[in-house]
């Protein structure tokens, strides 16, 4: 090979490298990825042999976030592609490194959560415990923490139950912040663990948001509980208007009497409207029956 062709080869290689960097450069929130760029991203993700000697061009948080978000948009199962499978396993192994959990909690390494999500049977508990350190005292619920908590609940529901009961319901020390409690109530209820006693605990939470979150989860998952009526009734003496409002919307008709004595103005108006609706539907049904 002549010197000139070596130089040309080097120039091309450097430009390819720069092209890859640009292709997977961070997309700022609210901006749409150019169609041509999106198409090429998908092409390269599907056929990563282009990357095999040039992986360093995307080996950073921003670019890897773009790789995983593009794969998600295009519904590409990265884990089924051997090149990415190896990378995903390497990325999740690096989650155990010091300092990584803070980065993940901050949302700077969402690709790591996406990577862990792709591994069946991934053990979320260590990561959950690590990010809880940062989240528990924080009143802003980070999306990364929500994702990790969901993974934890799905993969190890027994540990989640233990965590919620020991750290929240029956905690003798400080409890986590109210958005964390709200999320934990939701996950706990969705797993079918709610009892009459823990329903009372959720009803008595010091935060209206947390209490509503637990109740909403129950309303959406009544099929998990054979005693759902009894559980719903634990909330009827709540001190929070939004809780009573939620009950007015979701209680079956035969249980509505349990919230009729509510002192809350808006909840009362809501209840009146619901009863009027029920009445109107009944009248309409009767009319249809009598008309034939």
């Amino acid at each position: 090979m002549s010197k000139n062709s070596v130089e040309i080869g080097l120039t091309k290689e450097r430009l390819i490298h720069r092209g890859i960097e640009h292709l997977f450069a961070r997309t700022y929130r609210g901006y749409k990825v150019d169609d041509e760029i999106e198409k090429m991203r998908r092409m390269i993700i599907y056929h990563p042999d282009v990357l095999s000697n040039r992986y360093d061009a995307i080996d950073n948080c921003d670019s890897l976030n773009e790789v995983f978000s593009t794969a998600k948009r295009a519904e590409i199962d990265l884990y089924s592609i051997p090149f990415w499978k190896e990378k995903i396993e390497g990325l999740t192994a690096s989650l155990k490194e010091d300092g990584k959990s803070r980065e993940v909690w901050y949302g700077q390494a969402d690709y790591m959560i996406s990577a862990a999500n792709m591994i069946e049977g991934y053990d979320w508990k260590p990561l959950f415990n690590a990010v809880s350190v940062y989240q528990d005292s924080n009143n802003y619920l980070r999306p990364s923490y929500v994702e990790i908590s969901k993974g934890f609940a799905k993969s190890d529901s027994a540990s989640l139950k233990e965590y919620v009961e020991n750290q929240i319901f029956f905690s003798k020390e400080g409890k986590p912040s109210y958005p964390v409690r709200g999320l934990m109530y939701k996950l706990y209820v969705e797993q079918g663990f709610l009892t009459k006693k823990t329903a009372r605990k959720i009803r008595s939470d010091g935060s209206e948001d947390s209490s509503v979150s637990g109740l909403k989860a129950l309303v959406e998952n009544t099929e998990l509980y054979s005693n759902s009526d009894e559980l719903l009734l634990q909330f009827t003496d709540s001190k929070y208007e939004r809780v009573i409002g939620e009950l007015v919307d979701s209680l079956p008709e035969y249980l509505l009497a349990s919230v009729m004595g509510t002192p809350f103005y808006y909840a009362k108006r809501k209840l009146e409207r619901r009863l009027e609706r029920i009445e109107a539907e009944r009248n309409q049904a009767n009319e249809e029956l009598s008309n034939g």
């Binding site: 130089e7 040309i8 120039t11 091309k12 450097r14 430009l15 390819i16 490298h17 720069r18 092209g19 890859i20 640009h22 292709l23 198409k39 090429m40 998908r42 092409m43 390269i44 599907y46 056929h47 042999d49 282009v50 095999s52 000697n53 295009a74 590409i76």
Partner: protein
């Protein structure tokens, strides 16, 4: 890198098929496009190296080059371009 050149790469959902060479040429083109807008000395040098390549080497990237880079290519190869226009 694949041992076999010109392996057809297929995009799912779309009928379009691109060879590996086409993908690499696309990457070269967007690489030089971004260098054209950069003030970084390395990037300027990289763009110059690209412009010094023969038109035969540049041609496969032409469709994806920005207009400003195309003009720079024409300026860098003005003599060849004039000769071609004049049919010499």
């Amino acid at each position: 890198m694949s041992a076999v050149e010109n392996v057809p790469l297929e995009i799912v959902e779309e009928v379009e098929v691109m060879s590996k060479e086409e993908v690499l040429n696309f990457l070269i083109a967007i690489g030089v496009n971004t260098c054209n807008r950069s003030y970084d000395t390395d990037h300027k040098e990289l763009k110059s190296s690209f412009l010094e390549m023969s038109l035969k080497d540049i041609a496969p990237t032409w469709d994806n080059l920005d207009d400003a880079v195309r003009i720079a290519v024409l300026n860098a190869h003005l003599d060849e371009f004039k000769a071609w226009v004049e049919g010499k």
